[in-house]
């Protein structure tokens, strides 16, 4: 199949096939595949609790047929963990999607039109970024009420400045370029210029950043669930499972361990893919991480 590709296409493909991207993608594809297959194939209901003596709460640990053991209500942990894949991933995608779209528009408008609008918007972003993200997310989630949806909103709000700043930087750097001036002279609408001529320049860094942020969003949401401000029982969500599992550390090590392992693997996958994409899309940064304060900032802001 590869034989039919043009040499350029092959080269591009080779550029994207960084070892870290491959490893990251394999982990992710594996987990997603299981996340699709397990709910379809598992004989167990993730919500059905049990008082059956043959399926006691916190069974003897991982043993056939409960590969990863059962939880405190006798639910099969393996089934629940993979039911959670679609929930956790969807939550991360929506959260990041929301933050990217809002942040992108703010950055574009701010950078392109400049002036008072720019100062006001950027001051707001500065304020948002100067509150430790998770604290703000807690305040927002606590004010809105504990639910998975509100946790997503909270995390999205907190991460908007990352994309707004990124987008503004790119917009500022290209808006004086000849082709943008030409487009303006030709009488194209600002809307068209912004989305057709300026936005494409930002795609590479935006993609890299949001890939890494997907992992962070999962950690954020899981952490909010962990302290009781995210998913609510009986929703199968990793952070919530960890939180409940914590009460049974002594009796059932598997209960908190496996959901946590899933979070780790997914985050690792996104980080590896993000690193790989960064190397592929921006050869100047190959193998390095540009040390500018703003970037260190973003990194930290997004670390959990």
């Amino acid at each position: 199949m590869l034989g039919r590709l043009s040499p350029e296409a092959k080269e591009t493909l080779a550029r994207f096939m960084q070892p870290s991207t491959i490893i990251g993608l394999s982990i992710l594809v594996g987990i997603v595949a299981l996340g699709v297959i397990v709910p379809l194939a598992s004989p167990y209901d993730p919500y059905a609790t049990s008082e059956d003596v043959l399926r006691p709460p916190l069974s003897e640990g991982p043993a056939w047929p409960y590969i990863l053991g059962t939880d405190s209500l006798g639910r099969d942990l393996f089934t629940r963990i993979f039911y959670a894949v679609s929930i956790d991933l969807a939550v991360a995608l929506v959260t990041v999607g929301l933050a990217v779209s809002i942040g992108m528009v703010i950055g574009l408008v701010s950078g392109y039109f400049g002036g008072i609008l720019d100062s006001v918007l950027m001051r707001i972003m500065d304020v948002l970024i100067s509150i430790p993200g998770f604290m703000l997310a807690i305040a927002v989630a606590a004010a809105l009420g504990a639910s998975l949806f509100n946790a997503m909103l909270a995390v999205a709000v907190v991460t908007i400045p990352i994309y707004a700043r990124l987008m503004r930087g790119v917009t500022l750097s290209v808006k004086e370029q000849l082709y943008v001036t030409a487009a303006k002279e030709a009488g194209l609408s600002s809307f068209r210029i912004l989305f057709r001529h300026i936005l494409p320049n930002a795609m590479a860094p935006l993609i890299v950043q949001s890939t890494i942020e997907l992992g962070n969003a999962i950690i954020y949401i899981a952490s909010l669930s962990f302290i009781g401000l995210g998913a609510q029982e009986p929703q199968p969500e990793w952070g919530l499972m960890l939180s409940t599992g914590r009460k049974y550390l002594r009796e059932a090590w598997w209960y908190p361990t496996f959901p946590g392992l899933m979070i780790f693997l997914v985050v690792l996958a996104f980080n590896l893919i993000g690193d790989g994409l960064r190397d592929a899309l921006d050869p100047r940064l190959r193998g390095t991480l540009k040390i500018r304060r703003s970037i260190v900032w973003q990194l930290l802001k997004s670390e959990t």
């Binding site: 870290s20 001051r123 707001i124 500065d126 304020v127 948002l128 100067s130 509150i131 430790p132 993200g133 998770f134 604290m135 703000l136 807690i138 305040a139 927002v140 606590a142 004010a143 809105l144 009420g145 992992g215 950690i219 899981a222 952490s223 962990f226 302290i227 009781g228 401000l229 952070g239 960890l242 939180s243 599992g245 914590r246 550390l249 002594r250 090590w253 908190p256 361990t257 946590g260 392992l261 979070i263 780790f264 985050v267 690792l268 980080n271 590896l272 690193d275 193998g287 390095t288 991480l289 540009k290 040390i291 304060r293 260190v296 900032w297 990194l299 930290l300 802001k301 670390e303 959990t304």
Partner: protein, 336 residues
């Protein structure tokens, strides 16, 4: 020189004002959009009508929003975060009571992460392109991907349950020292209480490690990158040509520059720590501010949550201010 520092400091302080105002505004705004009545959020769901009326008067909630905000500003300037009706204490007292525990944890975690991250980052940069470098990069990405919620529990299962490390609280109550600095590790030493010191050290080790490992992953990557950048720079090449001895070259020229991001991390670390801290203190029953926030969330005690958010944001803004001033001393390029 002195004047330029003062100038810089002044400008930097001016920048802090809108930020702090913004933080206060956001928190104020959030507390007013609480579903239902903010008073119910403050008093808890079991509030009686008389109490509600009393609190509305007390907090001035019957006045208009602008007056409310101004009064609120005045309170915060006096570090008055109001009263927790649910825990029945002044929020300020709660916060100051819990602060030393969190500070101690953060400092120990920070030291640990430097001990782990700095040498590995340097080695990776010096052996760039070899398997050592690859290994450090792998460790780094594993480190930054490690969710605190999970790492903490795994450490607790392995060390706490299977290896019998004491977990929870800062020290065995029988060994507790008199409060001098509020830092257990220092207070026990001041008393010459070696057993107490060792106990406190064992108890702080796991939570500190949980906070430190992800950070050291980040530190490793930052140090490696900045070292590589410096090592490939013109002035190092010049120094090499001038036959500056390798050790001097590495330690005086390269390392010094590579430490700049480390200082940045030191300041910005706070955002990370606050996040991790809430989780870590919860997992290890560490009686700091993070644990307080968790308790407040459980009790739906919005006064405490709100106070803690402001308090931590203020500390965070201050820490960053200090880092910027440190920068001024470390990095001569900023002075221009």
């Amino acid at each position: 020189m002195a004047r330029s520092i003062l100038n810089y400091l002044f400008m930097r302080l001016l920048q802090v004002i809108p930020t702090v105002l913004g933080v206060l505004f956001i928190v104020f705004f959030l507390s007013r959009i609480l579903p239902g009545n903010p008073v119910i959020a403050i008093l808890g769901p079991k509030a009686t009508p008389e109490n509600i009326e009393k609190v509305v008067k007390e907090l001035g909630l019957d006045k208009d929003y602008f007056t409310q905000f101004i009064e609120y500003l005045g309170d915060v300037i006096r570090l008055d975060f109001g009263r927790s009706y649910i825990m029945n204490v002044e929020v300020r007292d709660l916060l100051f009571d819990r602060l030393p525990a969190s500070f101690e944890l953060v400092i120990v975690a920070y030291i640990l992460s430097i001990i782990i991250g700095l040498p590995l980052g340097i080695i990776a940069a010096l052996k760039r392109g070899t398997w050592v470098d690859d290994l450090v990069r792998i460790l780094g990405v594993i480190g930054i991907s490690m969710p605190t919620i999970w790492l903490g529990m795994v450490l607790q299962i392995v060390f706490g349950i299977y290896l019998g490390f004491p977990v929870g609280e800062r020290i065995d109550p029988l060994l507790a020292p008199k409060k001098v600095t509020g830092f257990m590790l220092i207070d026990t030493l001041l008393e010459g209480n070696i057993y107490g010191f060792l106990d406190a050290l064992k108890r702080i080790a796991l939570p500190a490690l949980t906070l430190a490992l992800p950070l050291s992953g980040l530190l490793m990557r930052l140090v490696r990158t900045s070292m590589v950048e410096v090592l490939l720079s013109d002035y190092i090449r010049t120094a090499k040509m001038k036959r500056v001895p390798r050790d001097v070259l590495l330690y005086r020229h390269a390392l010094k520059n590579a430490l700049i991001p480390v200082v940045t991390v030191m300041g910005l670390y706070f955002a990370v720590v606050v996040t991790g801290d809430i989780i870590v203190e919860t997992i290890f029953s560490w009686p700091g501010i993070g644990r307080l926030i968790y308790e407040a969330v459980l009790l739906r005690d919005y006064m405490v949550i709100q106070g803690a958010v402001i308090f931590i944001s203020l500390i965070y803004v201050l820490v960053n201010l200090v880092v910027d001033v440190l920068y001024f001393y470390i990095d001569p390029r900023i002075k221009a």
